[in-house]
């Protein structure tokens, strides 16, 4: 398999940061109360993961093995600070929305995990691509989680979008007199929905495995049916 295809497949599905590795739960559960917040944090995470994987892959020859963790943490924290300051100065409107989430990225263990497990051992283009793909894998799951929680909890989608696009407005999906289902928005709801998503992924994987198995034993279809 082409290495880039394999990295993409790992990031998006097979070793998905949330669904398979269960990393980065702290920001995941805190921020996924609605779709806009979730995707915003996810996009900032992609930027930081791409940058930190690139930086550490570039510097990997200079980092002694014994002190690699403090150096990784130092580099990630410095990059997050730089991204935070740059957002504040150059993209101030977006910063007002994302600002509180950017420092949270430091607490996301998936960044450190990818740096340690992948960037420190691979060349710059591959490592950067891996960071971005792991980030995309994070975005789609956190976005889905945010959308489900917002829909069940509030009956809307895209609430808060007017802070990013002033002309846009939230979409009311369920009837306007929908009373809301509070638990979906509170932290326990995040665990429930996340559990269902993980179960869904396992079920899909299981079905795919069954199908491969079925193809292999096509000579004796009775065995499969039984």
């Amino acid at each position: 398999m082409n290495p880039y295809r394999e990295i993409a497949h790992n990031g998006l599905w097979k070793q998905n940061a949330i669904l398979a590795q269960l990393l980065g739960l702290c920001p995941l559960l805190a921020v996924s109360t609605n779709l806009v917040n979730a995707v915003s944090l996810g996009l900032a995470t992609i930027v930081v993961m791409g940058m930190s994987n690139l930086a550490i892959s570039a510097l990997r020859g200079f980092i002694p093995y014994e002190i690699r963790i403090p150096v990784f943490v130092l580099i990630i924290a410095a990059l997050v600070t730089v991204v935070d300051l740059a957002f504040n100065a150059f993209l101030h409107d977006l910063y007002l929305v994302l600002g509180i989430f950017i420092p949270l990225i430091v607490t996301n263990c998936i960044v450190l995990a990818r740096v340690e497990a992948f960037a420190a051992k691979n060349s710059m283009p591959v490592a950067t691509f891996d960071g971005i793909m792991m980030g995309v894998g994070f975005v789609w799951v956190i976005g889905l989680l945010g959308a489900i929680r917002e829909l069940i909890g509030q009956g809307t989608l895209f609430s808060g979008i007017e802070m990013i696009i002033p002309t846009a407005a939230a979409i009311q999906i369920l009837p306007a007199d929908y009373p809301g289902f509070l638990i979906a928005i509170l932290p326990p709801g995040a665990f429930f929905v996340l559990g269902l998503l993980i179960a869904g992924r396992n079920w899909l994987d299981h079905r795919a495995n069954q199908r491969i198995l079925g193809q292999r034993t096509q000579q004796s279809p009775a065995a499969v049916a039984g």
Binding site: G61, F62, I67, L74, L85, A89, F90, S159, G160, G180
Partner: protein
């Protein structure tokens, strides 16, 4: 002690194959533990210096822009509670410092701005906090007119439950025609004295929304306290020279 090896030596860390072959023929004497420690420490120090420099440089570069947008943000926030047409002085310069005041629920020193028109006092703009929100502190900004009315009130910071208690912020309020927080606009201090500055559930005059009374009660009580506080000290606050710190007089 011998001098530590230069840490950023490009030839040492990623040993190229040619060097590895040489090393196999004649292994160098194993470096002492002291040497390794010193080398590692210097590398860590250099990384720290390099990335601190990177952060410091970025900070220096972005600081003027950040400050400019913080000022613009402050004026925009003030503009939400006090329309710019109501005053003609330079608001950000006509300010006094407030010490951390229990009456306003504040833990830190804050700034109070004084709006004047043709030299006459118009309104005071200052920060208030409600410490007893459903999920902690609710930050507010209030404008109190010189004749003792709460001109307007806005939530600047809160952690109330999204979709439930966050209607205190008009941006999140689903009732766009009559956001909840607008019912305070223009109400005078006599409501506080008459004991009516409460949510209806507590026997007052302000609405709360079902299921999230705590958020409404916190904002209502804090704004009532702030209005009375500002009105009682209005004259002193307007007379204080700009830039000074206001001091609560012992009664």
């Amino acid at each position: 002690m011998s001098e530590p090896a230069p840490p950023v030596d490009p030839s040492t860390p990623p040993a190229p194959p040619a060097q590895a072959a040489v090393a196999m023929v004649s292994p160098p004497p194993a470096p002492s533990i002291m040497r390794i420690s010193a080398r590692t420490a210097v590398i860590l120090l250099l990384f720290t210096l390099a990335f601190t420099a990177l952060m410091a440089g970025t900070y220096k570069l972005t600081q003027p822009l950040v400050e400019a947008s913080a000022q613009a943000e402050k004026l925009r926030l003030i503009g939400e509670v006090l329309p710019p047409l109501m005053y003609d002085n330079t608001l950000l310069d006509d300010a006094v410092t407030l010490p951390p005041l229990k009456a306003l629920g504040l833990d830190d020193a804050t700034t109070l701005y004084r709006a004047r028109k043709d030299g006459r006092p118009v309104a005071l703009v200052f920060e208030v906090a409600a410490p007893d929100g459903y999920s902690g502190r609710i930050g507010l900004i209030a404008a109190v007119s010189a004749d003792g009315r709460l001109l307007a009130l806005r939530v600047t910071q809160h952690k109330e439950t999204p979709g439930l208690g966050d209607y205190i912020d008009p941006k999140k309020d689903r009732n766009k025609q009559q956001p909840w927080i607008h019912q305070f606009d223009g109400v005078g201090f006599d409501s506080v004295l008459g004991g009516k500055w409460k949510v209806k559930k507590d026997g007052g005059r302000f609405d709360q929304r079902a299921g999230a009374t705590i958020s409404a009660r916190a904002v209502t009580n804090a704004s009532g306290r702030a209005l009375l506080w500002a009105h009682e000290r209005s004259v002193n606050l307007f007379e204080l020279p700009a830039g000074q710190t206001f001091e609560e007089k012992a009664k």
